[in-house]
Assembly symmetry: C2
Homo-oligomer: 306 residues x 2
């Protein structure tokens, strides 16, 4: 099955204890689509400037990602500069330049109309909703957001949440969205806003999947620890890579059973762990499905009880 993702394709200048890289290819839609491309067909909707050239295009082409929905316009691509010097798990933003993204109006190619899944990466909820409404035929809609939209664009975000099947956010975002510190109670409150499945990402500690069950107030809960990594080079994009692995794996499955959702969480963690091993998307660009499955199995092994 095919996934359409709408989000940012960007350049990132990143500093971590392992070093510094200028203007890596990045953006949520880039990480997501690279990660998901190992599982299924991926189609991207985004906007880039004149600084996006053949070298960047080839990153998508090599993974057979459909980029007909990437609009090329005059100006510069979205740019982010950040560092992780004090705490490898927390980005400190030094600069955000929206550039061509400031006037982004997602255009959906006719060829994307038969997409089965839709992923709304972390962008303005007004745009998320517009894309979602323009693709009413999709079987599953998953999405991401961040504290900026939760705090300052709540009404628009609430409209998006109503139309989501799966929301993937982190601990802080879950607690902020619910105004509730306890994670399980916060998850209940968030799911009451729309999504029947909620994946809360705990960074280096893993993720918890909450799912509502018809006929009962009991949540179905699945908790996966994260891969303990001996070396984290650059955590940029780990969350988007998690989402790509999670949604990509689900899209590859004939049926969305609870077991498929569980394996999807493990594939999400697996892809997130790879993303951290090199700067930017370097590791995802060089990855093979064999490496992914080997790590999935190793990951299961180090968490398996009997």
């Amino acid at each position: 099955m095919s996934i359409t993702v709408v989000g940012s394709v960007a350049y990132d200048s990143i500093e971590t204890p392992a070093g510094r890289r200028e203007r890596c290819l990045g953006g949520a839609a880039t990480y997501f689509s690279l990660a998901a491309s190992f599982f299924t067909d991926v189609r991207v909707i985004a906007v880039v400037g004149e600084d996006f050239g053949p070298r960047q295009q080839s990153v998508f082409d090599k993974r057979k990602i459909d980029t007909r929905g990437i609009e090329h316009t005059a100006g510069k691509s979205f740019f982010w500069e950040g560092s992780y010097l004090e705490d490898i798990n927390e980005a400190k933003t030094h600069a955000t330049e929206l550039n061509v993204f400031a006037k982004f109006e997602p255009k959906i190619p006719a060829a994307y109309a038969d997409s089965d899944f839709l992923f709304l990466a972390n962008i303005d909820p007004v745009l998320q909703r517009r894309v979602r409404e323009a693709m009413p035929q999709v079987k599953l809609v998953a999405g991401d957001t961040m504290n900026y939209w939760i705090n300052d664009y709540r009404p628009a975000l609430l409209e998006v949440l109503k139309g989501l099947d799966v929301l993937l956010i982190n601990d802080t975002e879950t607690r902020t969205l619910a105004s509730e510190k306890n994670l399980v109670r916060a998850a209940r409150a968030v799911m009451a806003l729309g999504p029947r499945s909620l994946v809360v990402k705990h960074g280096e500690y893993g993720a918890t999947l909450f799912q509502s069950q018809t006929g009962t107030k009991d949540l179905r809960i699945f908790r996966a620890p994260a891969m303990p990594l001996e070396e984290v080079i650059d955590p940029t994009g780990a969350g988007d890579s998690f989402a790509g692995g999670f949604v990509g794996y689900l899209a590859s499955q004939p049926e969305l059973t609870p077991a498929a959702f569980r394996r999807a969480v493990f594939y999400g963690s697996t892809m997130g762990s790879f993303a951290c091993e090199r700067f930017g998307t370097e590791r995802l660009q060089q990855l093979t499905r064999e490496e992914i499955d080997a790590r999935f199995n190793h990951f299961r092994e180090i968490t398996h009880l009997d």
Copy 2:
């Protein structure tokens, strides 16, 4: 097999978002021995003051815990006052009164000499070492410590670590002890100081077991998520209860296989989760082995992949 534990038996005044309790029975040795008592015979070495009476004694008696090693002296028992109002996962200490604990000189009853396991709870490493040396026959020594000893009593602590089979500490303590931020590398550094097994407790996120393997530099890693709790009444003693479940379960096993260690981590998490459900030791006092095994199974279920 029997466990001797040396540590504090104390009174705690605790405030959490769920309320306030004055002078609950607490202390690391109390939580540890209550938790471990569901798995094996437990013997306590501690000191209490005149405020420790029949009501406190009966808490131990009901769980058939051997208290012949609890010395009664003139004065007041160790007292701690703390709150968890801003962050349920972080204690803010308001008062610590060592009282009779200031002159604690552990005395080991002759009847404890045939103990199989020894647990050195979080006390002055000089005392930990003294008890360890007085019980050379034990088959396994596990221990805990805290940042206070790591930072200011390092030489004495290093002597203790040399004699430990298992060290159970949290993320911050592991990183501080190793002067290394990456958890896997920090674990390696800590294990180079002595313990062949290291359990790093991640609070609400679970725990990771690291074990050295003879003939290879590869660490054997096992990661267990924690129980997602809908209501945390009081996290005091959760770490000590984890240790009690972990060491208690190991002591109940005929052989210390890797599988036994894995189950021990799950039993540790299970006991830690129960401890949080009521103030002080209230929940541990009322617990049954059936409830423990039901939660262990539920816990396995919510983390089991296939």
